[in-house]
Amino acid sequence: MAETTANETAAPAASAGETRRDFIFIAAGAVGAVGAALTAWPFIDQMNPAADTRAMATTEVDLASLQAGQQIVITWQGKPVFVRHRTPAEIEAAQRDDYAALKDPATDASRLVQANGAAGKPAFLIVQAACTHLGCIPTFAAGDYKGWMCACHGSQYDTSGRIRRGPAPLNLALAPYTYLTDTSIRIG
């Protein structure tokens, strides 16, 4: 009788002790791992763009003083943006090449669309300045297509900012803009 009791209690106690310890170990480990991840996250995420940087900093540009054949480079969210007043010849060249063999096909009209979806004006092209290869700022009105030419590795863009030759994979990125009046725009 005494023996049976001893056996009965000893055996389950031993295995119960094992499983309980395992359980506590795994549970504590799991909580610890989640805790470590939760603690690490703020320290990783703090490096992301801060609220003031992220706040859609908008930039307004007055187009009245910009003559045909000129461009200005402004910064929006710290990134340079080209605002180009195109000459009739440049507009014509851009539209004529809408169906040429393009690396990143896009029509000139689609590259002028405003942030709200309304059509833009052919005279004013607003695109981000960073070369889509590795981010240099291409030179104005240079290269075979007289759009832009990137001196870094030789990418050439046309007067619609489309990539025509060189290592860059994509057209110059559009910058979201809207006309405020006939002669002023807001970027962002």
Binding site: M47, N48, P49, A50, T53, V73, T75, Q77, G78, K79, P80, R96, D98, Y99, A100, A129, A130, H133, L134, G135, C136, I137, P138, D144, C150, A151, C152, H153, G154, P167, P169
Partner: protein
């Protein structure tokens, strides 16, 4: 450490200390009594030079940080102020800037030494991998440090390198913005780069401690690549290695001093004396000399491979070039450690060294520049003088057969007597065809040194013909084969990877090595090498 400690505390104090913190015993066993192979040559002294370099960078860096202002408005001026106004700044700033180059010079010698003498093979795999970790940390530290003076090269090198991360599919942009702390390199970037540039050298110190620990556990390799077996194979570290290390350190410091005192800016780039301007890119962006080979590998890939575009391909190979070093211990199948006894491997190694230097040269050139002279670029021009031009608009039934339709229409016009036809596609299904009939057909060939010169010539000719009211000119460009820097880099890159992934694994299985001496003593008596 090898064998039991032979340290004998000499005084009462050192005896007392030895039972409480045996630090003097550790130093004695590691740097005094430590047995080193007696046949070490001067290639084995660069570890000491590297330790010195690390101390120099940390000491001068801490001083610079006392005067440096990590803000985009002040950084450039603060470094100039260090050089002009801060007492001894004219000396300490160039020591740090030149020091980075000297550090890399020493580390490359150190690494090639390891490659040649097989120091990465068992039992030194971990020692070698720790070295690779140190090298990676050094590259990161130097990249971060180079951005701090906030000159044009600082800014644009940082821009180009962070944009590379944008090549990573899906998460690339998120990682890039996370690293920059914004959408462009800006003040948040400079702040964190300074913080990390201050941190990493201390991580390097930590890994160096592990590196030396692993070294003392496995023992030093030596030019013969055979393990010390008897007492006569080794000599105590002090004075033998200590003196040799000191001697080389002094020689190295002479070179260091030559740069610091006579040409502190020779290794830098003049554009970095122009304050950073996010709106103007320098015409030719280059990294510091010690990263040029990797830059060349990065730019060598100018073609897409399946889903991997050229940009991503370059990034993968650039990181792969360092990653392959980590697995080198398992790539080289040769049982002979030192290449001194591997006559064929020796030659491949020599080519490898030349390839690395040539990659460095490529990294400093414009990618499209020709390496060897090439024939001129030519273009055949055809136009019609006089005659009448007629225009016709063609509409195709669908986008798919548009091109064929336009060509058929052009053919029709030719049969109707047009000398030349120009097809100008104006929409997916429409084209304007201009044909000239009558008049006389003219031909000419223009040429130029390169494509740009050729285009300029074509443009000039077209303009003069336009004035003579020729409606259009047909241009047939004939580009000669140009052996560009990019092509050259591709070949060199292929060899770089072939060396590690093909030559070392296969050669080790097939070569016949020359007779390896059984002991270090025999290797010395056996003649020079």
């Amino acid at each position: 450490m090898a064998g039991p400690s032979t340290y004998q505390p000499a005084s009462g104090f050192t005896r007392w200390l030895d039972t409480r913190l045996p630090i003097l015993r550790l130093a004695h066993d590691s740097f005094v009594a430590y047995p080193t192979p007696r046949n070490l040559n001067y290639w084995w002294t660069f570890g000491a030079v590297l330790s010195m370099c690390l101390v120099v960078q940390i000491v001068t860096g801490i001083v610079l940080a006392m005067h440096y202002a990590p803000s985009i408005h002040d950084a450039f001026a603060s470094v100039q102020r260090i050089r002009r106004d801060v007492p001894w700044g004219w000396l300490i700033q160039p020591i740090h800037a030149v020091g980075a180059s000297m550090f890399f010079l020493a580390v490359y010698i150190h690494m090639f030494r390891g490659l040649y003498y097989g120091s990465y093979k068992a039992p030194r795999e971990v020692l070698w991998i720790l070295g690779c970790v140190i090298y990676l940390l050094m590259v990161a530290t130097a990249f971060l440090g180079y951005s701090l003076p906030w000159g044009q090269m600082s800014f644009w090198a940082a821009t180009v390198i962070t944009n590379l991360l944008g090549a990573v599919p899906v998460v690339g942009t998120a990682i890039r913005d996370w690293l920059m702390g914004g959408f462009a390199i800006d003040n948040p970037t400079l702040n964190r780069f300074f913080s990390l540039h201050y941190l990493l050298p201390f991580l390097i110190v930590g890994v160096v401690v592990l590196h030396v620990w692993a070294l003392h556990e496995a023992g030093q390799n030596n030019p013969a690549g055979v393990d010390p077996k008897e007492k006569g194979d080794t000599v105590p570290f002090t004075p033998h290695a200590t003196m040799k290390d000191l001697f080389i350190t002094v020689v190295f410091l002479l070179l260091f001093g030559l740069f610091v005192f006579y040409m502190p800016d020779a290794l830098g780039h003049p554009d970095n004396y122009i304050p950073a301007d996010p709106l103007v890119t320098p015409t030719h962006i280059v990294p510091e000399w010690y990263l040029l080979p990797f830059y060349a590998i990065l730019r060598a890939i100018d073609f897409n491979v399946g889903p991997i575009d050229s940009k991503l391909g370059g990034v993968i190979l650039m990181f792969g070039a360092i990653a392959v070093l980590f697995v080198l211990p398992w790539l080289d199948t040769s049982r002979v450690r030192s290449m001194r006894y591997r006559p064929i491997a020796q030659q491949f190694f020599l080519i490898f060294v030349v390839v690395c230097i040539a990659l460095g040269w490529c990294g400093a050139q414009q990618p499209a520049a020709p390496v060897i002279p090439h024939p001129a670029f030519k273009a055949d021009l055809r136009w019609v003088e006089g005659g009448t031009s007629a225009t016709r608009t063609v509409t195709a039934t669908s986008e798919r057969d548009a091109v064929a339709g336009f060509e058929a229409a052009a053919q029709e016009m030719r049969q109707a007597g047009a000398q030349l036809v120009l097809v100008n596609r104006t929409s997916p299904t429409q084209a304007t065809l201009t044909g000239v009939s009558g008049g006389t057909e003219q031909r000419a060939t223009v040429q130029g040194r390169d494509l740009d010169a050729l285009e300029a010539e074509i443009g000039k000719r077209k303009a003069s013909l336009g004035a003579a009211s020729v409606p259009f000119v047909e241009v047939d460009r004939k580009e000669p084969f140009v052996f560009t820097v990019t092509r050259f880099s591709q070949i060199l890159t292929a060899y770089y990877f072939l060396f590690f992934l093909g030559i070392l694994p296969l050669l080790g299985l097939r070569e016949t090595a020359s007779r390896v001496p059984d002991t270090i003593a025999k290797s010395i008596r056996g003649g020079a090498h």
